[in-house]
Subunit: 384 residues, 4 copies
């Protein structure tokens, strides 16, 4: 298990190098009977493609997916779903000068040390292009979850220190986030960030940022103690995305400076959500109905917990935020070392993004979907 | 797999409820031939015990471990190492009044909803007492890692908003951290925090805090792409500790506001560490020697990356910080709901800590040790 | 994962050496809400104890189990169930002369070569005593399965070439099998085998034999394609029992000489079993009810398939037979090699069985129960 | 984990339906640095193709593999190796009449019951065509193992009750087995079997048979106690091949009627093999060299054990035999039931083999190779 698989019951394996023949994924364990079309996959892959803002690579990734197996007459069969995405428009020549140089901030040296060799073209499998396979698999998970009203939405919370409005704040709009190529939920912030990215491009530099994510419609009960808490598995999933340097749930790091009386979320009666959305009696969790009378419906006055208690979903929105470092590839001259141990200067060529954050948004959603689909299936085994 | 196991090759399973007969762990996959005694386990368990500061529970957890298997004549056999820790001094009566009440900030309700029943005595398996099994297993991993010069040390970075000195800052001392029961690496900060905890105890309230951790002596090459990056697996491990709300590596959340030119760590020749500590030619990673000539030794001028690139260790210190929420159990009156759906008031009885952070320090170290032991073994399979 | 764990969702880890302090198991993933007492465990452990026939060791294995966790007020909590069995009446001195000798037919040499050291007392973990942990875990699985009417019964089919009656044959009686200590389902065969074992004991020799097993009440649908077919997972489970040299399902090896027209089992309408026993609408497989109208109930005129098609249970009895080699420890003089490479003669001392087959019967049942409990839980994830 | 993955460190996932767009596999965990070309894959796939004997389907499976990832400049990268095999020459129309009929001896009904729907074209994923993915993956494992002199060879031991010569017997020739399309290691037996298959074809019937396999050059030490014994994992691997009804190792079922004094293999000094083939000091198992002085080299006078003791390889040849039932698809009229519960007659149309055994030979080898590659990598973690 060299680390390219994820999940226990809803399990994805991804494959592919940036400039190899193809990328893709195999999803084993998706339940049978779910309507699934290539359009469901294509939609999410498109959201991952380079945009048209100043900060975006000009590589044209067609990313046309093909479903190779696991679907028959428009429905999943319960067998592995393999998805193939051919690589096109590779400019491998761009990387010719880099095969003996270790790019700062990249995995070139660690990879070569670990494996004894590497594919230098576009970073090989350590490239961000690897996430295409994740997004394809996540689209399947999302389709499965949508049947139970579970919605996952992420957005750009900040870039280069410029913050977008936060939920509840004036100007915050997820519709807006989907309309601008930066995935920023506020028009003014989007404009300021676009300007910043233009400046950075001229300066041959790059930016990092924050991605926020909200999962709504999630039934309570998902997540497994002790090591497989919902937050722990989500954390691993998001931290496995290249460039991710941190994650926080609910009140997050601010909770460390708070007090119990201020931080504890007060339980109140009722879910505050329509029964149909809770999932307890729905097709996702068929075992639930057997429990009688069972604990009462609860909700919470606040959501400092970010939607989990003891690692198990509470039915409140799951909310988290992840930090991504600036793009490592910059045209500006940097110092480094070559494979013969000599110190060198380099300017990273190729068509790289100034900021990867807007394109990470669908990847964060995909990873969250994979986590939830797996935990939803595992939850079915919790009680008799 | 209900979530009580961790690791692929160096694999631990833990068991036990807070007020049941015993807790413990089974470690499967520890290599044979490692000297191991019950003292190695006892030492780490003692660091986890309640201290004598104002913020500490008065429950006397003897936590005397017994090695049931896997060790013969002082050496590991390669077979499962089972460790038993009997529960003593339980005051289960304290929890009698709580069996029908859902404590705010605890997993009572989510657990009952998930499983249909729960052990209300001390929170059952959702109790922090569960971490005794982790610490026992971590002590084994630590013994294994120490043979290669890998050292893991965590400390209290802040409590209730009062920050300890950071590495490099005047007054920062890990010796000091081990000497005070708060694990704070600075005398003055320790005194201020002790005062704060006294105040909070009088106010029937509690505090959260930050734990920092540094792993030194780690050879480069550990961690597996894509989903099993060192940072991702460490993240899952730490986020699986109860009350953890976030984690960041290296520059962490600050990286989100930085630029590529400022954030990228510049590679330089040589490791800056004695060859013996790198592990490349050592017994941990026997395959390394076969690579010839292989990439040159590198080090980095800075360590914004926190010791990993592309999810693989660089040989620099691995550095991370985790946020823990305030203790949920407070004596102050809180509102909640009972299992019949009625709103109630409660004051959580029992002997609870005002701040769990100092006792989390050895748990963080244990989880980090488990991660590294597993990735060290997995790394052996990376190349021919 | 050094191989001491088994199962995906209903997952057991066992531990313990033959002459160490204790043996036991941890079962993670047993659903919550199942009535379970120490008597349920004790009952199966007793069936595994040495009997009083000529062929049985005189070691008195009290095998008193203690439930350390996972059960509260007589019901499973959904948390890990740890069971402890203290070793008693070890005569480790018997093995003093063996620590430098590799016993023929035992794992002494392979073990020492693999791990660099071994516990020579009673074979350490390679001892048949290791199966106590399996039987304890299997008792939990059996309790879970019994709720749905699934019954697993094994018996001694032959010893030393003397065959017991087969199902359908005159004299075949499973009641009889449970009454004699040889687990032979026929009085006359039992007497003949008892005489043979007496002869072999005098001759300082040992015998092997066959164990047959029948699983009835199993609902159709259990087993996962491609690699996790019910027969494949059962095969691994049974072949993992020490001394097992082969397994066959249904017609087994005889099928290799048959023709399609003779071997194919003809489907007929109806289950031939009371609806309540099919499990389709029962609590085991709650998702089943959602399928409408679904395929009709089927049964088969014959059962050459042994209860599976395409690796999935058909609802017919699952039937298999396993071959066990003769006990390797014999008092008769054998030639071998010592750890210094010198050829030696030895007579294995200690209290060993002349034939292990009767005591393997409950181990076969335990492993089958573990397989079915796991596949039953996994099956819940098959469809929406 | 719906069962389409296999292995812990050297892990394969396969995908594809018989009449879908493609089949294939993803191998995660193959070490880096191994020379691998598409020819290595193609060679084994060709051995699996329909032959020209009377018993063979006339479907022309081109089975042209494409390596999509994981190989760069002719060497493995340590990243997932994905292999794609397009389906061609499907005659899905042949199966139109079968979509409402449950074919005897096939998984049609169990599959539909389990998943609620199925792909009726050629049996979908329950088709023997699924093994193409296994063979492709096995070719990678075989290439890895061949570097250490490990050779896996299987052959047809009997068909329809006609037995080929056994090793040591006059006329036994593995060269001959590779030259005739039946994989029978003896010319006369091959001719008799060919005649039998011609007769069965005329009679619209089919045959089963036995496959024997021998693994030579295997170093001692592979296999993990307790549940992951070499024999147990091999057993699962082979029993997971469609139509397999049994497996036996070494003396196998005959051991059940033997005595300890006759069955035990006597250890003797020395390996009886050239040192280079033992692997102890070779690149496969680098940790071995560290053990000093370690146990002496041993061999055994006989090999009733079939190459394992305590589930760990002894260095003797691993020998096993598997039984395969007759092909279920026959043209002869059979009775069955349709999806509306009505009893029907059917003659299975399509191009089916009279006997699958010769084509199973490379599948058996592939599964054995996957098992050994995985256990070889896992063995590296056994000692310090």
């Amino acid at each position: 298990m060299a680390g390219n698989s994820f999940g226990t019951l809803f399990r994805v394996s991804t494959f592919g190098e940036s400039h190899g023949p193809a990328l893709g994924c195999v999803v084993d364990g998706c339940p049978a009977g779910i309507p699934l079309s290539v359009d469901d996959i294509r939609r999410d892959l498109r959201r991952r493609r380079p945009g048209h803002s100043p900060g975006s690579t000009t590589r044209q990734e067609g990313d046309e997916p093909e479903i190779l197996s696991g679907v028959y007459e428009g429905k999943t069969l319960g067998t592995p779903i393999a998805i193939l995405i051919r690589n096109r428009d590779q400019h491998s020549g761009d990387y010719e000068g880099l095969k003996d140089l270790y790019r700062p901030g990249h995995a070139d040296w660690t990879w070569e040390l670990k494996y004894g060799l590497r594919d230098p073209r576009g970073g090989g499998r350590s490239s961000g292009r690897e996430t295409a396979g994740r997004v394809a698999a996540g689209a399947i998970a999302r389709t499965f979850l949508a049947r139970d009203g579970i919605v996952i939405q992420a957005w750009t919370a900040s870039i280069g220190g410029i913050h977008a409005p936060v939920p509840g704040e004036e100007g915050f709009s997820l519709t807006e986030a989907e309309q601008n190529s930066l995935r920023v939920p506020g028009k003014k912030a989007a404009e300021r960030i676009e300007a910043l990215l233009g400046d950075l491009q001229k300066a041959e530099d790059s930016a990092g940022g924050l991605v926020s994510c909200r999962i709504s419609g999630l039934p309570p009960g998902l997540g497994e103690p002790v090591f497989d808490k919902l937050s722990a598995i989500l954390g691993r999933a998001i931290l496995s995305i290249g460039a991710c340097k941190g994650i926080q749930f609910g009140a997050g790091f601010a909770a460390a400076g708070s007090t119990g009386s201020a931080h504890n979320d007060t339980p109140v009666r009722g879910t505050g959500r329509p029964r149909a959305a809770t999932g307890e009696a729905g097709p996702l969790l068929p075992g639930e109905a057997a429990v009688s009378p069972g604990p009462p419906d609860l909700s919470f006055k606040t959501n400092n917990a970010g939607g989990t208690l003891g690692g198990i979903s509470t039915g409140m929105d799951v909310e988290f935020q992840a930090a991504f470092k600036p793009v490592a590839s910059i045209s500006r001259i940097q110092r480094t070392v070559d494979r013969y141990g000599a110190e060198q200067e380099l300017s990273v060529p190729g068509r790289h993004d100034v900021c990867i954050v807007p394109r990470v948004v669908p990847v964060v959603e995909a990873m969250a979907a994979l986590v939830l689909a797996d935990l939803a299936l595992r939850h079915r085994a919790a009680k008799v």
